[in-house]
């Protein structure tokens, strides 16, 4: 009797899991499968190309830097310019940095699955990341990275459908980690200020976005993985 009950219970669980497994499989209409596969294949190919190109840019940057270092060794004029160049590269985010700072964490919350709530407040939007980055700059951050992507002068967050993109189509996926270098108490006070990020904090209470922050004595941010081209702006004088 006990064996029968156990087997029945286990069979029920197995059937339930099998059903869940079955339901989690996408079931597109058959005439769309080829098109969807082609689209996704294109994305994968373009993402591979994107990674290859970024690696090429970084290798070329290393080559340029080696040439600049050698030029500075040979010429005092070049050495003088090189010192200024290194300073501007640091400000532009072309150098990796480390130091004390703040780590801000957040992720998508729980979908309420409610017919009365279509707000999508349970997901993290690119504007949330934009607001956090802006607040960290306002709180004295000296360098910022989001999920390993350095925030540089040309950085813009945007949507491509449901994807959050930044820096040359780098896709950001949850969980999100924002690292800011600077004075940890000042950065924490900025993020903790109840007048700031009020909407995000409210959604965090409702949907559980895991919005939290922690001070650290040593954090690091990577260098920007590409470079800058100015095609339209020309220097005056």
């Amino acid at each position: 009797m006990t064996v029968l009950a156990s087997v029945s219970l286990a069979t029920f669980l197995v059937a339930g899991l099998a059903a869940t497994q079955f339901r989690s499989q996408p079931l597109p209409p058959s005439n769309r499968v080829a098109r969807e596969q082609a689209l996704r294949q294109s994305v994968n190919q373009l993402q591979d190309q994107n990674s290859t190109l970024k690696a090429r840019v970084q290798a070329l940057e290393a080559g340029v830097k080696a040439g600049e270092d050698e030029s500075a060794r040979r010429s005092s004029a070049a050495q003088e310019v090189k010192a200024q160049l290194d300073e501007q590269k640091t400000y532009a985010g072309l150098s990796a940095l480390h130091g004390p700072g703040l780590t801000v964490l957040l992720h998508d919350g729980t979908d309420p699955n409610s017919s009365a709530d279509h707000s999508l407040g349970w997901t993290i939007h690119y504007q949330d990341l934009q607001d956090i980055v802006n607040l960290l700059w306002a709180s004295g951050a000296e360098a910022i990275a989001v999920n390993g992507q350095r925030i540089v002068p040309s950085t813009a967050f945007h949507y491509a459908g449901v994807n959050i993109l930044v820096n040359n189509a780098s896709r950001l996926s949850p969980p999100y980690t924002v690292i800011a270098l600077g004075d940890p108490p000042a950065l924490a006070n900025g993020v903790g200020n109840p007048d700031q990020l009020a909407e995000l904090k409210s959604r965090n209470r409702i949907y559980g976005l895991g919005f939290s922050w922690v001070r650290s004595t040593r954090l690091s941010v990577p260098a920007y993985d590409a470079t800058f081209l100015m095609k339209y702006a020309q220097p005056i004088g």
């Binding site: 499989q25 098109r35 840019v57 501007q88 994807n163 339209y232 702006a233």
Partner: protein
Amino acid sequence: MHSRSVELAARSQRLVIFSLIAIGLGFLIVVQLRSQAAVARTLANQDDTSVALLINDLNHANNQLMQQSAALAEQQAQLQQALTSGGADSQALSKELSTLREVNGAAPVHGPGLEIRILGPVMDFELQDALNNLRNAGAEAISLNGYRIVGSTPVVSRGDILMVAGHAVGTPLVLRVIGDAEQLGPAADLSASSLQTRVQVDIQRQSDLTISEVVIPRPLIYAQLGR
């Protein structure tokens, strides 16, 4: 004795059944978790529009990266040529320095672009959205009411007052943006469409705008070079 051996056989049978069920359950749980993770990681759970937009952005980004590669290869060749002939090309270094000073907002610049006049008060997040949209459309230099705006320039509201880099800015807000007007136009229109329910927005294309304001980068106190 006989009843004991029967009991032992039944217990063994139960053990075998439970073991098989546990293996089955474990397998299904793992498959379930892995399939969910795979769906989240891949593009399988995205609609075709999202995927198509992603393709568009990736194409654009890859073109940009190819242009960057070409520029860096040229710069490297120029440096190498001077080194091979026994000298040093400080002009190549000066050219890169000039570009980076423009990127960092440390040099006055001019070029084609847009002048956007916003006749009415806006909130910090509205201006942030507008700046973000313009950068996404390739804005190379931006100023607002006489202040140079760079990536690290904070925009905050203090009550009804809009503060940019710690300075209060009042209406009308005049944004000057240098870049490809063809690309900047739709981005400006997008921001304007959300603002125009409350305030008047006027967008003018300019063949040559001047942004003479500069920012002096704050010296790094906490951040140090290296990982």
